[in-house]
Amino acid sequence: MNKEPIKFRKERLDRGIKARCEDIFALSSYREILYLLLPRVLPVALLLVFPLFKDIVGLYWEKVLVITCAIALLSLSWDWLASVGLISLGQALFFGVGAYVTGSLNYAFKWPPLITIPLGTLGGALICTLLLLPVLRLRGVYFAIVTLTLPLLLMRFIETTKILGGTEGLSALTPLPSLWVELYVPVFTLLICLFGFRRLINEDYGLVLQGIRDNDRAVMSGAINIYWFKTQAVFLAALVGSFPGAFMTHYYQFVGMPAFALDYSILPLTAAVLGGVGTFAGPTLGAFILVPLSEVLRAFGTLRVVFYSAILIICVVGLPEGVFHYIRRKYHQFERMVEVG
């Protein structure tokens, strides 16, 4: 007797409302409008009102919000690089260079944050792009290797040459003008970058970048100078990565070697992989899961880094989809089991 168990397979169907909404902007009911808008508007609204309740949630958690935005920006920058096919293991490079440029401008010339933060962001992005320029001609893991190496080396460089305050760093920098600036500047920057990147990657410009990721030779034989496009992409990523460095410098009123710390490399990376690579919303979501979690686990000290590493390995090997893709799928599709005949 050969009695085989009945086999089932999971079948996924798009919700009717999704099929109708996609690409066709003829929405017929409030329900459909809500269906489309809710996942976009709700998180944005939450983010915008969160600082208003500072008296209820307490300043500590408002501070966590600022750090979360900084990490989210770094992971957005990581995801942007990943969508051109460049793997960065050293987001701390962008953060640190942005921080040091801002800090030293403020320290040397006593310029206010309104000038040093934009200058630091721009200057930091330029320096990072120049540093990474030679590697862009190569394919493969070279970019990862060099981004991993550079922050460590720059840290050593500052330590040995004792420039820019050496191991002590530069302290007593100008504080930010008000609490509202501290809270709303990172939030707005994050939203602008998030929706900007999401838009840009689907524009024709973004298609070229995605093409470089999939097959750089075919892009090249399409009469497109891929090195120039890669340079632009790295500059944009460096811009978005340097801003949190520049901002946090004035936020902490201090810049020092911790700006190149491993945390700024591995946290954004973990956030991006956990959230889901390639969506920009995923990495942001990942940062909003990881950073508050990591505040809760503050008591564990360096074990947190081990914890990130474990999450990274598990996500990369076992759950490459990421949280965001999972939620999106659940939102847009029915699942049911069907008998396999």
Binding site: D204, L207, D214, A218, M220, S221, G222, A223, N225, I226
Partner: protein, 254 residues
């Protein structure tokens, strides 16, 4: 025929001591359909890579419309109007078929040639796909490239080249991996393109199909040019016979 569009002079290339191309010289006239044949490993793909800048030659020169393009970057050569297909098709997998074509359409060459017109790029892309045999009103042009069958990918590759509005089209074994019916439907497209005045250099293993449309055929063996004659006579050539019989019968059975 008329003016020379491509002139190759004494091209040489070694890979770690192995001679891949040995002293190859030839010319391509404007409007010509030139075939290049040769057994496996005879250096055909290397020749294409040399012409399009993906590999730098050890010595020798390549002139395109009188301009020396030896050792120029691939995108510069493409910018001048030489388009090529790849033997191993690797489309932009995560993009839909017609979005694959947006990338060459975005290049400064195409925008210049189209007089700055860019807003209608989607329509142009769909037209191009229809040109190479995609069903216009079906969902095929909107499907993600990774889900398309091989024959479509090969034709997508051809469309990617045509998007560039090339003056010289180099096809690197376009027919390899295609089914008989796919070849039969692609052949007229190439004939038509050539009839419209496009110069085509075709590296091919399927000799029967090639001989039907080519004006002239060059045979390579071990990197050297061994014959250069009209398609009707090339298989009469003793060196070519020896090269094919000496290695394999591939191409004859197609």
């Amino acid at each position: 025929m008329s003016e020379t569009i491509l002139k190759v002079e004494g091209l040489n290339k070694n890979f770690g001591g192995v001679a891949a191309i040995v002293d190859v010289s030839f010319e391509v006239k404007k409007g010509e359909l030139l075939g290049i044949i040769g057994p496996n490993g005879s250096g055909k793909t290397t020749l294409v890579n040399l012409l399009t800048g993906f590999v730098k030659p050890d010595s020798g020169r390549v002139f395109y419309r009188g301009v020396d393009i030896t050792g120029k970057k691939p995108y510069k050569i493409a910018e001048m109007g030489i388009a090529r297909t790849f033997q191993m098709v690797k489309p932009f997998y995560q993009l839909s078929a017609f979005k694959n074509l947006i990338i060459p359409l975005y290049s400064s060459r195409v925008r210049r040639l189209r007089g700055g017109m860019y807003g209608d790029r989607d329509d142009v892309a769909i037209d191009l796909l229809e040109d190479v045999g995609f069903e216009r009103d079906s969902f095929v042009p909107y499907k993600v490239a990774s889900s398309l069958p091989h024959g479509y990918l090969k034709r997508l590759e051809l469309a990617r080249c045509l998007a560039l509005r090339p003056e010289l089209l180099i096809l690197d074994e376009l027919f390899s991996g295609m089914s008989m019916s796919e070849v039969a439907s692609t052949l007229p497209i190439i004939e038509r393109l050539n009839g419209e005045g496009l110069t085509i250099l075709m590296v091919e293993h399927r000799l029967k199909e090639l001989f039907r449309i080519a004006h002239r055929v060059i045979a390579l063996n071990f990197g050297s040019k061994i014959a250069d004659s009209p398609p009707g006579e090339i298989m009469e050539n003793e060196a070519v016979k020896a090269a094919y019989l000496g290695s394999e019968e591939e191409g004859e059975d197609a």
